[in-house]
């Protein structure tokens, strides 16, 4: 659990982060969104004390984050820096091994972990491990940056726009992988992004920042349904709202009785994908199948459209 209490950061006269308080539950993923310069990175960096706050307290599992020396604290927290920040004079494998080496893991354990992460991020350890960062594409560099942050299996992971340089297909894969890792290890993740789609898809909760202030902190559905201010409304994108709302729900939760013609859609696809498929194929209804392939019923255009409406 991360408790942020009355955190303020001032540089000279300018207040960059202004009295922010929020609680991030353990094993959840919190997304911070906001315009450029709104203080997202600064807030993130106060958690691992790369930036010392002017006022306020941050507690990790109840302990003030100032109770350890800064470097020890930071070894226990994964940090994927904005723009990857790989060490140019170290190979990919050495980059990923950074924190485990600092923690004094033995060689075999480090190698096993590095290989595991590289395989997970689809970089062949034998081919890419000995390469230097400048010999990778931007997207590969970014994945190495994320792998480096994950290397020591931290309980808390701070990620600053980790997927910015990835193409849509790899980004999707990277997002799914991160969610899988989070489920498996119960990691608490704070992720900064500019991409509202990513925020709604990944976040258990979304924190919206504007000019250093936390303007709303709530579940994605609530942010979409009840934006706290005109600013949040604009950020969410008024015309996108119904689709984002649908993207939160699974098809199995919108199943109606009955049957329909054509190829069945899996129950754990998003309702938004189902609606897209219906509109594209011009059909009024689609059959739905469960994980075992058995028919569950059908989804209809009418049913989905009702779900896309503003919740009461």
């Amino acid at each position: 659990m991360i408790e942020i209490e009355g955190i303020t950061k001032r540089y000279e006269e300018t207040t960059v982060v202004d009295d922010v308080s929020m609680v991030i539950e353990p094993r959840t993923l919190c997304v911070i969104v906001g315009t450029s310069g709104s203080g997202k990175t600064t807030l993130l960096r106060m958690i691992n004390r790369l930036v010392e706050p002017t006022a306020g307290v941050i507690r990790l599992d109840g302990n003030d984050n100032r109770s350890l020396p800064g470097y020890e604290l930071r070894r226990s927290i994964g940090y994927a820096i904005q723009g990857h920040g790989l060490f140019p004079h170290r190979t990919v494998a050495q980059n990923i091994a950074t924190v485990p080496v600092l923690l004094g893991w033995d060689k075999a354990r480090i190698k096993a972990r590095v290989d595991e992460l590289m395989t997970l991020y689809q970089l062949d350890p034998d081919a890419y491990g000995p390469r230097y960062p400048h010999e990778l594409s931007g997207g590969q560099q970014q994945r190495v940056g994320v792998a480096r942050a994950l290397a020591a299996e931290p309980n808390v992971l701070l990620m600053d726009e980790p997927f910015g340089a990835l193409d849509p297909i790899i980004r999707n894969k990277a997002q799914e992988d991160l969610l899988a890792i989070q489920k498996r290890f119960g990691t608490t993740i704070i992720l900064v992004t500019h991409d509202m789609e990513e925020a709604v898809h990944m976040g258990d909760k979304i924190a919206v920042m504007d000019a250093g202030k936390l303007v709303q902190y709530a579940k994605p559905a609530e942010i979409l349904a009840k934006p706290a201010s005109a600013f949040v409304e604009t950020l969410v994108g008024a015309s996108e709202k119904p689709f984002r709302l649908l993207s939160l729900g699974r098809v199995r939760d919108a199943v109606e009785k009955g049957t329909a013609e054509g190829e069945a859609i899996p129950g754990d696809a998003s309702q938004r994908d189902a609606l897209a498929e219906l509109l594209w194929s011009g059909r009024p209804a689609l059959p739905v199948k469960g994980e075992d392939g058995k028919p569950l019923g059908r989804v209809t255009v009418d049913g989905l459209v009702k779900r896309a409406a503003r919740p009461a």
Partner: protein, 249 residues
């Protein structure tokens, strides 16, 4: 130009240099025309090989000492605690450079006597500035997000310095050392005026006895050493820089 041509030339130069300092007699016919009244064409008041090695030793000692002090100084003034000494250390090192080497020798002799010591002092002071300046440039122009990543990973100040900052600025520091070595190789010849055993002896002997052959052979050996060492250090520099994906020159 063919890619192997520079390497071939270098190799040739090495072979010539080694042959000359070990068997100068072979080259007598070449130098003979430069002498008058039957004066010797090859330096005969000592072994060229010994003088070359002593010359190199003097330069090596001075450069190592200058590197240690200059890099330590640059590290010190780029830490938050030492930042206020930055202007002071810059002017100190600059003063070392504005002193003519002859003046340093003249001042050092009464203090430490004749011989290698005053030469070492002059070379040391002369070598400081280029290394210090380059080390300072290297340590202050590191990519900010790489340093932040090092902090974020939980490296201590010392670990950041030794694992990230110094390796990343190594090519630039090497550039300073290269400059300093070449200056020292030339300056060391002056050391012979205060009885240091360097190749300057050959040149001075030539000047005193009006023997052009001596002047030329002393000068050529120093020049060949300078070219080869400059070349070798440039190659190391390029290698370290290329590994980091930095383009050189």
């Amino acid at each position: 130009m063919k890619a192997w041509l520079p390497s071939l030339l270098r190799l040739l130069l090495v072979v010539l240099l080694v042959a000359f300092v070990t068997n100068p007699g072979w080259f007598e016919p070449l130098l003979k025309p430069l002498t008058e009244n039957g004066a010797p064409a090859i330096y005969n008041q000592g072994s060229l090989l010994t003088l070359t090695l002593l010359h190199l030793r003097t330069v090596l000692i001075a450069t190592v000492a200058a590197t240690l002090v200059a890099v330590a100084l640059a590290i010190l003034v780029t830490r938050p605690a030492g930042a206020e000494f930055l202007p002071l250390s810059r002017s100190l090192v600059n003063i070392g450079q504005t002193f003519p080497p002859v003046a340093v020798l003249a001042l050092a002799v009464p203090a430490v006597g004749f011989g290698e010591k005053p030469t070492l002092i002059a070379l040391f002071l002369y070598g400081l500035l280029p290394i210090f300046e380059n080390a300072l440039t290297g340590l202050t122009t590191l990519p900010a997000n790489v340093i932040e990543a090092a902090r974020g990973a939980g490296m201590t100040g010392w670990q950041r310095l030794t694992k990230v900052e110094l390796p990343l600025s190594a090519p630039i520091i090497l550039g300073g050392i290269r400059l300093s070595v070449v200056i020292s190789l030339a300056t060391a010849t002056i050391g012979s005026t205060v009885a240091a055993k360097t190749l300057g002896e050959v040149i001075i002997a030539g000047l005193l006895s009006n023997n052009l052959a001596f002047v030329l052979q002393g000068g050529l050996i120093v020049a060949a050493l300078a070219v080869l060492i400059y070349d070798g250090l440039s190659a190391i520099e390029r290698y370290t820089a290329r590994r980091m994906g930095r383009e050189t020159e």
